[in-house]
């Protein structure tokens, strides 16, 4: 990569930082407990809108992994999630009524909060329907992973998005508050993913899975990106560029080995396809606040009319991280 390219990426990074700085005005604190954050705490950053029903399990899941503090931006919810989050001792909450799209799908808001509170912390950035799985997550807390990453001088950890779905109609089993969503959506596609390298940012671009298979049968190029780098030892110089798909400086995107070996990686189990999905898809299409003119949501509502079954004969039933490791969706790397 030439000097010119490096310089342009730096300019771009600074532009996103300035933008995040301006967008801070969108945010008004509901409750700010960030004073309680200690030096080594693991922080979780999240934007949410009307996800009240998911929040209890979400918070519990990440507390159990060892997240110490949650920094959440509420995008004008109307379902009582603000009241719920306000009462959680380890949550700091900001509210905004501004457009999700204008804040580049929430990235600007979180970039600002990360810059302000994330410096020198391990920061996990996920949506309320994303659940991190990493090697040995059933026996070792998240802190074991971050300590090991620190000792190995690794600054970013990738976890590809794995779409989980139920067998049969999406609305056949309603999701109940506090329930593990993967009791319902416990199936996934194990081996139909394609990878491409993004020369400019150095990240991998991963597509495939059930969304590509069912919603984009003739146009796989339009299927959503599944590559994610949610866990980063944050520095105030860093910014996410587009969702958590890629970061700047671009070295942080180098979460894969190019010489035949495997680096350690995890998976974000995606609990998107529950009974709540149809309503969400219709609402989001109405709001037009999603990526690429909501092409994804248009495809969903189009297909959902026929009530598709994402499940197929070769769907894999989720057991544990070791299964995902054997299937080649994630890797232990040299962590043993």
């Amino acid at each position: 990569m030439g000097v010119w390219q490096t310089y342009r990426l730096r300019l771009q990074r600074q532009r996103w930082q300035i933008r995040a700085f301006r967008k801070r005005r969108d945010l008004s604190p509901v409750i700010d407990r960030t004073g309680a954050i200690r030096r080594d705490d693991i922080l979780l950053f999240c934007t949410q809108r009307n996800e009240r029903i998911r929040l209890p399990f979400f918070l519990k899941y990440y507390r159990d992994l060892g997240v110490n503090h949650f920094l959440i931006v509420d995008n004008h919810s109307s379902d009582g999630s603000v009241d719920y989050l306000r009462d959680q001792e380890d949550v700091s909450l900001w509210h905004t009524a501004a457009g999700y799209k204008r804040a580049r799908f929430g990235v600007d808001w979180l970039n600002w909060l990360q810059r302000k509170h994330g410096h020198r912390h391990w920061c996990l950035t996920v949506d309320p329907d994303e659940f991190l799985i990493y090697p040995f997550c059933d026996t070792r807390p998240l802190r074991a992973l971050t300590d090991w990453l620190d000792a190995s001088s690794i600054k970013s950890f990738s976890a590809m998005l794995l779409d989980m779905y139920p067998k049969g109609r999406l609305d056949a089993q309603p999701y109940k508050e506090g329930q593990d969503p993967f009791e319902i959506a416990r199936w996934f596609d194990s081996g139909n993913y394609t990878l491409k390298k993004n020369k400019r940012y150095g990240n991998l671009w991963i597509q495939g899975g059930p969304r590509s298979r069912v919603f984009f049968p003739g146009t796989p190029a339009k299927a959503p990106a599944l590559n994610k780098i949610p866990l980063v030892k944050w520095d105030r110089k860093y910014t996410y560029v587009s969702s958590t798909h890629m970061l700047l400086p671009r070295g942080l995107n180098q979460t894969y080995d190019e010489w035949g070996g495997e680096k350690a990686s995890g998976v974000l189990l995606h609990a998107k396809f529950l009974d709540t999905f149809s309503a969400k898809a219709a609402e989001e299409l109405d709001r037009k606040q999603h990526y690429a003119a909501s092409v994804e949501y248009r495809a969903y509502t189009e297909s959902l009319k026929d009530d598709p079954d994402l499940w197929c004969k070769w769907s894999e039933k989720y057991i544990n991280w070791r299964q995902l490791e054997i299937l080649g969706l994630m890797s232990k790397g040299n962590w043993a």
Binding site: F136, T139, R140, P141, R143, A144, D147, W148, A151, S152, S158, A159, M160, D189, S190, G191, N192, Y193, T194, L195, K196, K197, L204, I206, P210, S212, R213, P217, G218, T219, P220, A221, N227, T255, Y256, D257, E258, W259, G260, G261, E262, K263, A264, S265, C312, K313, W314, S315, E316, G328, L329, M330, S331, K332, G333, N334, W335, A336
Partner: protein, 567 residues
């Protein structure tokens, strides 16, 4: 009295764990000298020291700054070991440990073990030529170059200075009488050897030399012990596994069973928050170890595998943290597979026959333009790979590597031809896992039998011939790594059984040594005339070889005779 083994502990983090371990050593009567890194804040150190002040058997040596790979660690060890020998007269062996070491077997066992070997020094010590574990390509150069810069903080200067010295051919003189040896930092030396090293009249000279050696903690004592020891046992009593970057593997709670079976006295390094390990080995170390048969090899295997996973990876796997550059795949695909071109055209029911004979999974044309022809006409196959041509053509190579990865353990065969997506050619041609068998020109058989408009046939034939010819260029390229076999149709039709037998023989144990059932060849009567007609129309079919107009292959005119094979 078991004060005959003294423990020198180097501590820099997790002081509460170090305190626990120190008390464990003390409970067995071993004196302990602790060195705490100067990087630890004064207040923290003071609290730590105060906590252990009730025990006269625990001493603290003067604090120094210990940076990885530099002299500080050796100097700290020297001082602490000196203090140990000075203050505890009954000590016969000094054991060097770190704050994150954990004694696995009961301490009295270690004491007895050493008492039974009063003259033996346990220190891993090998000459540079004989060790594989150097990192960064510096083995002998550790001893012949100078390393004034920190590898961790001043990497660029470090690399630059090494490069400069290499360029100008600089070489340090190794002090007379020394033969550089290296090995694990964690040793256990006798009073005799250790005091000889510390009281050596030339110690100053050696120190001056080792100060500028890279990673002296792995070579200072290892080299000098060779000079004085009566009896060196070149191994470390501390179980310590290193990964490919040269940093130690860490043990967690889930390694409990593994450590129980390790049969080692001390393990490092332990994650400070591994509560179960500390609890198991510090409160009831006898009980922790005794219940199981020792199996130290298992630890070796697990960590060796981890290093291999990191450096070599799983062949044929492309995923979020393994995306090799071209040429670095270490296996383009996961397992061997076979590609057949022209066989279904020439033999009736070839796919079924092949599946029956070999037990392999036989697909149709996976790269057909309309859809992916999976075996059994399935719409989706292993891994939820769909039959959509659009998906396949989005990334043909990924489609193939996915298919082979998803079905590993079961041999895959598929048909190919000039009608199919040709973008995959280069991938399979350079894949050593691919067995490619081509009967050239066989694409003309369906045309010959199709009975459609001759002008169209002529156009089609010309197109297919052009495509296949280009494909053959790729298959015959010098960079081809696949096992490629090419026959023209005429020679194949002459003697079809021998090539078939060869191909199947390679398919492995599933294939029978004798063919009981041969596939039935299509009726080629009139094929020579058909080719002649193409010629007459100005198209020149040449890939199928020579088919005389009036000479139809004899064997084909007598159908339904069971072929016999004589071997």
């Amino acid at each position: 009295m078991s004060g005959s083994v003294g423990i020198v502990m180097l501590v820099h983090t997790a002081l509460h764990r170090a305190e626990q371990v120190a008390r464990h050593w003390r409970a067995a009567g071993c004196p302990v000298v602790i060195h705490v890194d100067k990087k630890v804040p004064q207040g923290t150190f003071a609290r730590f020291k105060a906590a252990l002040s009730d025990d006269p058997g625990v001493l603290f040596s003067p604090r120094r700054r210990c940076e990885w790979g530099t002299w500080g660690i050796v100097a700290a060890t020297q001082a602490a070991a000196g203090l140990m020998l000075d203050r505890f007269d009954e000590v016969r062996h000094v054991y060097l440990a770190s704050g994150s070491c954990l004694p696995l077997r009961p301490v009295p066992e270690l004491v007895d073990y050493l008492a039974a070997r009063p003259q033996t020094d346990f220190i891993e010590s090998a000459t540079t030529a004989d060790v594989p574990w150097t990192v960064g390509g510096l083995d002998e150069e550790r001893f012949t170059l100078r390393f004034p810069f920190s590898w961790k903080r001043q990497r660029r200067l470090f690399d630059l200075y090494v490069e400069v010295q290499r360029r100008i051919g600089y070489k340090r003189r190794i002090p007379a009488g020394l033969v550089p040896h290296m090995g694990s930092q964690w040793w256990c030396l006798t009073r005799q050897t250790l005091s000889a090293i510390l009281e050596d009249p030339r110690r100053k000279t050696y120190e001056r030399y080792f100060r500028r050696v890279w990673i002296p903690d792995e070579s200072y004592f290892q080299t000098l012990a060779r000079k004085y020891s009566i009896n060196i046992e070149s191994r470390s009593l501390t179980l310590s596994k290193f990964d490919f970057q040269g940093k130690p593997h860490i043990f967690y709670d889930d390694h409990l069973q593994l450590l129980r079976r390790s049969d080692c006295f001390v393990a490092r390094k332990i994650w400070p928050r591994a509560d179960r390990l500390y609890k198991a080995f510090l409160t009831d170390s006898g009980g922790a170890m005794k219940r199981t048969e020792p199996n130290p090899g298992k630890i070796d295997r697990i960590f060796a595998k981890a290093v291999e996973r990191r450096t070599r990876g799983r062949p044929g796997l492309y995923m979020q943290s393994r995306f090799p550059n071209p040429g670095w795949e270490n296996g383009l695909t996961a397992t061997p597979y076979s590609v057949f071109q022209g066989f279904t055209e020439l033999f009736e029911g070839f796919e079924g026959w092949l599946a029956r004979t070999t037990g392999a999974r036989v697909h149709g044309h996976l790269f057909a333009p309309e859809r992916v022809e999976f075996a059994g006409d399935q719409e989706v196959i292993n891994g939820a790979l769909s039959d959509s041509a659009a998906h396949r053509d989005y990334e043909p190579a990924a489609f193939l590597t996915n298919l082979i990865w998803n079905t590993r353990g079961e041999r895959q065969c598929f048909q190919f031809g000039p009608r199919d997506n040709q973008k995959i050619n280069w991938t399979i041609t350079r894949d050593p896992n691919a067995q490619i068998s081509v009967i050239t020109g066989a694409w003309a058989v369906p045309l010959f039998r199709s009975n459609s408009n001759f002008a169209d046939l002529r156009k089609q034939a010309a197109k297919l011939q052009r495509i296949e010819n280009r494909q053959l260029d790729i298959l015959r390229a010098s960079r081809a790594k696949a096992r490629v076999r090419i026959w023209n149709m005429a020679e194949f039709v002459e003697a079809p059984m021998e090539p078939l037998q060869t191909i199947l023989g390679e398919l492995g144990s599933a294939a029978p040594r004798h063919l009981n059932e041969a596939p039935k060849m299509v009726d080629l009567t009139g094929f020579g005339q058909f080719l002649q007609n193409l010629k007459n129309q100005g198209m020149h079919p040449y890939l199928m070889g020579d088919f005389p107009v009036n000479h139809d292959p004899v064997t084909q005119t007598k159908p339904a005779r069971k072929p016999y094979l004589v071997r």
